[in-house]
């Protein structure tokens, strides 16, 4: 019964999220708005690479490392932003959070559902970026040699982990004013810097590497690269060479579980605090 109810909430919230994102303009304009920004962010890194290395062929391994990291990091940035915006939009802009809050549904499931539209749009951006990388930039990836089972499993766990972190940030948004985007951008920035997104962990100072090793996103990005480029030697430069694929998968699953527990705890605590302080339906206007 509960499962049916959660699935219904998930479906309706996802549909609502999609409508809120897209139904106010023409589809082609909406697609442009949604995908141009993350793709441009990836292209900045491509140009930086080309300015220094003068061509992908001069260091294809490093280029592939960075390109895949940048493409899959889109999910982290967009989904975290989406999850916090759920609370902010419903509370401040549409002022419907109180109705959602007292409805007989799980707020966690509602937030995940609303974030799914971001997952969908980011998937589109990622597919376009990968196609551009393969066709124009000649990424040395052979789609027939990709380890698809490892890719699918890692993607599933990774997305679950990102969504759970999104729930924690959504909880914190209950307590903050409208400017809470700083929090998710800050967390996203920490992940961008310390999780080996653009460069191998070994480039960071030792304390930075330790931070990276404690965050599941590091293992997720490593698995994304290893599964898409299995014979490329990613592990030789990533700083995680001593771990085999199953070991990294285990590390990802374990750290994702820890983050899930922490996220639920943070959400529960923030929710309690917000209720006590009467902040659930506040409008801060700034």
């Amino acid at each position: 019964m509960a499962v049916t109810s959660h699935l219904r909430t998930l479906r309706q919230a996802a549909w609502l999220g999609w409508q809120m994102e897209s139904n106010w303009t023409r589809p082609w304009l909406f697609i442009i708005y949604s995908i141009v920004r993350p793709i441009a962010a990836t292209l900045i890194l491509v140009v930086m690479f080309l300015v220094v290395k003068q061509g992908v062929a001069n260091d294809p391994l490093m280029f592939t490392y960075t390109y895949l990291g940048a493409v899959f990091f889109m999910f982290v940035a967009q989904v975290l932003l989406g999850a916090t915006y759920v609370i902010m939009e419903d509370r401040e802009h549409y002022q419907t959070l109180r109705q959602i809050y007292i409805a007989p549904i799980s707020l966690h499931v509602y937030i995940i559902g609303r974030s799914l539209s971001k997952v969908l749009l980011t998937s589109l951006s990622a597919i376009i970026s990968m196609a551009f990388g393969l066709l124009v930039l000649r990424l040395p990836i052979d789609l027939l040699r990709v380890d698809w089972p490892l890719f699918a499993l890692s993607m599933l766990i990774g997305l679950g982990c990102i969504l759970s972190i999104g729930i924690a940030l959504a909880g914190i948004t209950f307590l903050t004013a409208k400017h809470s985007t700083g929090i998710n951008e800050g967390i996203g920035g920490v992940f961008y810097l310390f999780c080996g997104t653009l460069f191998p962990l070994t480039v960071l100072p030792p304390w930075g590497q330790s931070i990276g090793m404690a965050i599941p996103i590091t293992y997720w990005l490593e698995l994304m690269r290893r599964s898409l480029y299995p014979a490329g030697g990613i592990e030789t430069i990533s700083g995680l060479g001593e771990f085999s694929n199953p070991a990294i998968l285990l590390l990802l699953a374990a750290s994702a579980l820890v983050f899930l527990g922490l996220s639920l705890l943070i959400f529960w605590f923030a929710d309690r605090m917000a209720r006590k302080a009467g902040k659930v339906d506040m409008t801060t206007t700034y």
Binding site: W24, Y33, R37, K53, H179, G189, L193, F199, V203
Partner: protein, 266 residues
């Protein structure tokens, strides 16, 4: 006199607002540094010339102004409409340009604090070497760049006034794509002569290129001589201010005719 007071009156909450919420200061300083650090480590991983790390710090500092132009200028009248303030501004007996000038002045102050802190921390944390060849020329380029980009922001503000969610989305769209075509983190010449010349319509492209040349010398691989860039920036600054005045009058008239000045939640 009234218009000068109006401009300062509009600038005042921006200047105060910059220090009103302590968490903003924290995020305003920390957030750009995280991105800058990531790009600097990326350049180090690629084995780039250390001057490129300086390009990143300079570009990262200038994002403060660009973001302020987008969100604090271009999208501002849209937000004012959404919160119901626009109608109050329009019934006051002041020049609309004074309102926009006040927004720009206050915005420059707030963004200036953020840019300066990013620049100083970036230089200190990452040991960036910058040598100022001609300080007067550098200051001139910086000031004219600011006037030009804020003039552009004033023009966008009036154009976005009647927009609905497009305003928010267009501002979003003008972030990373502009960082890319304007060469915030690399010499813009790397994009090829045609792309860089087209991107030169955006004043920050030439401003950044000129400042890079002034601070880092030949390694900056400038698009054209700094004096030429300064001359074009002056022309752009005047052009954007004139276009801002014209578009503000036009859009206000259109908004009054179509009854869209108080329309919310489009």
């Amino acid at each position: 006199m009234l218009n000068v007071r109006a401009a300062f009156g509009r600038a005042y909450p921006r200047a105060i607002g910059a220090i009103r919420e302590p968490s903003w200061t924290f995020f305003d300083v920390l957030l750009p540094l995280l991105g800058i650090a990531a790009y600097i480590y990326y350049y180090r991983a690629l084995g780039a010339d250390p001057a490129f790390e300086g390009f990143v710090v300079l570009g990262g500092a200038m994002t403060a102004f660009w973001l302020n132009v987008l969100w604090g200028m271009a999208a501002q009248l849209y937000w004012e409409k959404e919160t119901g303030n626009l109608q109050l501004f329009l019934v006051t007996p002041m020049s609309r340009m004074a309102l926009l000038a006040g927004m720009a002045l206050g915005g420059m102050f707030a963004a200036g604090i953020r840019a300066l802190s990013t620049l100083l921390l970036g230089i200190l944390l990452f040991n960036v070497n910058m040598v100022v060849v001609d300080p007067l020329l550098l200051v001139a380029v910086f000031m004219v760049t600011l006037i030009a980009i804020y003039g552009m922001g004033m023009m966008f503000a009036s154009l976005f006034m009647l927009y609905g969610r497009d305003a928010w989305n267009i501002s979003n769209l003008l972030q990373e794509p502009i960082y890319l075509v304007s060469g915030f983190y690399f010499p813009v010449k790397a994009l090829g002569p045609w792309v860089s010349l087209i991107a030169a319509v955006i004043p920050i492209t030439l401003g950044l290129d000129a400042m890079r040349q002034e601070l880092f010398g030949p390694v900056a691989n400038g698009l054209m001589p700094v004096v030429w860039e300064l001359t074009i920036l002056v022309v752009l600054a005047v052009a954007f201010l004139v276009m801002a005045r014209w578009s503000l009058e036009y859009m206000e008239g259109l908004g009054r005719k179509e009854g869209r000045l108080t329309l919310r939640w489009q």
